[in-house]
Amino acid sequence: MRITCPCCGSRDRREFTYYGSDDYLRRPDADAAAQAWDDYLHNRDNPAGETRDLWYHDPCGTWVKVTRDTVTHAIHACEPVAGEAG
């Protein structure tokens, strides 16, 4: 599996650390209800098919949002997280 780092180009999966679903980009407000925090931290759609998740490119320190298929391992898109997260 190869992932395209926005800075470095197509790189081996071994250079990346998986963080998890892009739910992590939608952090609730500090005073949000407990349910919102539970959804943010724990509950997942966990799709069999297209998913978006976060990978960290260890050598250059770029966070990448990867759109990929969990059934075929095909990578559809790799975008930088920088500029998107609040």
Binding site: M1, D12, R13, R14, Y18, Y19, G20, S21, A34, Q35, D38, D39, L41, H42, N43, R44, D45, N46, P47, A48, T51, D53, W55, T70, V71, T72, H73
Partner: protein, 424 residues
């Protein structure tokens, strides 16, 4: 010929001898192939180890026999047939410790209970340690196991050498300081566990329905009323979702979003060799564990590939990592040819522990989150889910496997690494 209910054939050594003399013409299918009835008291979604054992204990312990197990493929076609077959009770945390202890006790009488040879082999399991700090942690774990009433022996380096003389004791990266020996740990024949439970449940009247995929869960005013399947609608008073790596998809049919992320875990088998590895050996620092099957193949595995996946096959980096760890620990296996490798879809929970609980929908129950340790749990998991479904109260050894524990903070983080999806 498909047997009628109650037409029970007992298996025994005498029977094998008798059938041998008669040309083996008397054997019959081990379970019926019924069509689904319009309604059941209980429908269990998932004909794997956990689903089949749930059906069996519902019938045996609670007298609930109007039960259907719905399986989208064939019985035992998921993780029960794709695992590395290890059975152990070496857990530390209250909540886990008593559950796995209970499960091991059920394993120890399972063959007599089911009248089925599951080839349970208590060959002993050794967890290696490589530093003073790890020794302390394993001593503490061993004490917890003893306090639970199970067995544990702390071995020093020479004690390990006596049992496992083939390890590389000279390697410097992870020098072997000793091991925690769990003599009652071991392995079992994974498929036979599914078949044994299936046959025993069928004999008690449970309908095992294969090639029957659930496509919807019917809910009326917050209460489950049945399921839609590829073989028609089936009404049910109670429904249990017992589908491991596919839990999120089936729960979504009931509008639920679970604390589960599905990951890939790989395993490997070599060509058959003469007996050389007599125990289950776990090399935690290298993410490597190994045992030898009764057929002679070395069965080994490592850690998750560590990204969400339903592919049922892994990628090369973890293959290399597992092979390197194996060669570091026991160079003698280097000449063995790997015959095949495969991946299973693991239902990973944030804290690494399972869920056996009601769902927010009345009458709908959930059994999932087995991470990479579901096989040894099969007897107790079914026993405890059956208890919960029959009595309405959690079994005392599974009371902490709650669905809401992530929201309330009552975590069961056995590894001590935190409660987050990418950590287990």
């Amino acid at each position: 010929m498909v047997p009628e209910r109650g037409d029970v054939m007992r298996y025994s050594g005498f029977r094998v001898l008798l059938e041998g003399l008669r040309g083996n013409r008397g054997w019959r299918p081990a379970w019926r192939k019924p069509d689904p009835k319009p309604a059941y008291d209980v429908v269990i979604i998932g004909g794997g180890g956990h689903g089949l054992s749930t059906a069996y204990y519902l019938a045996k312990n609670h007298g609930i026999t109007n039960v259907a197990v719905l399986e989208k493929g064939w019985l035992g076609s998921g993780n029960i047939g794709r695992n590395t077959t290890i059975v152990r009770a070496n857990y530390f945390l209250p909540g886990n410790s008593e559950f796995y202890s209970h499960s091991l006790k059920l394993w120890e009488k399972l063959e007599r209970d089911l009248n089925y040879n599951v080839m349970h082999s208590q060959r002993g399991l050794i967890n290696l340690f490589h530093s003073d700090g790890q020794r302390d942690a394993f001593a503490r774990r061993g004490n917890a196991m003893l306090a639970q009433g199970d067995d544990a022996v702390l071995l020093d380096r020479e004690g390990v050498r006596e049992l496992l003389p083939y390890l590389d004791f000279d390697q410097t990266r992870f020098p072997i300081y000793g091991g925690l020996y769990h003599p009652r740990g071991g392995t079992a024949r994974h498929d036979a566990v599914a078949w044994g439970y299936a046959r025993a449940a069928d004999q008690r009247g449970v309908d095992l329905i294969e090639n029957c995929e659930v496509t919807g869960i019917d809910i009326d005013q917050g209460r489950v009323t049945g399921v839609q399947t590829s073989r028609g609608a089936i009404r049910a008073k109670k429904v249990a979702i017992v589908v491991a790596g596919r839990s999120s998809q089936v729960a979504a049919m009931a509008g639920l979003r679970l604390p589960i992320e599905s990951h890939i875990l790989q395993a490997f088998v070599t060509e058959g060799l003469k007996p050389c590895i007599d125990h289950v050996v776990s090399f935690g620092m290298g993410h490597f564990y190994i045992s030898q099957s009764d057929k002679g193949g070395l069965v080994f595995g490592g850690d998750l590939d560590f990204y969400a996946s339903y592919a049922a096959r892994g990628n090369l980096p973890m293959v290399e990592h597992v092979m390197e760890a194996g060669m570091t620990l026991m160079p003698m296996i280097g000449r063995a040819k790997v015959l095949r490798s495969w991946g299973g879809i693991m239902d990973m929970s944030p804290d690494g522990s399972p869920i056996i609980d009601r769902s927010p929908v009345d009458g709908l129950f959930i059994n999932c989150g087995w991470n990479y340790g579901g096989f040894k749990a099969v007897p107790a998991s079914g026993r405890c889910l059956a208890h919960l479904m029959a009595t309405g109260a959690p079994h005392k050894v599974a009371a902490r496997f709650r669905l809401d524990r992530f929201a309330t903070g009552h975590l069961l983080d056995e590894e001590g690494t935190g409660s987050q999806h990418n950590l287990h």
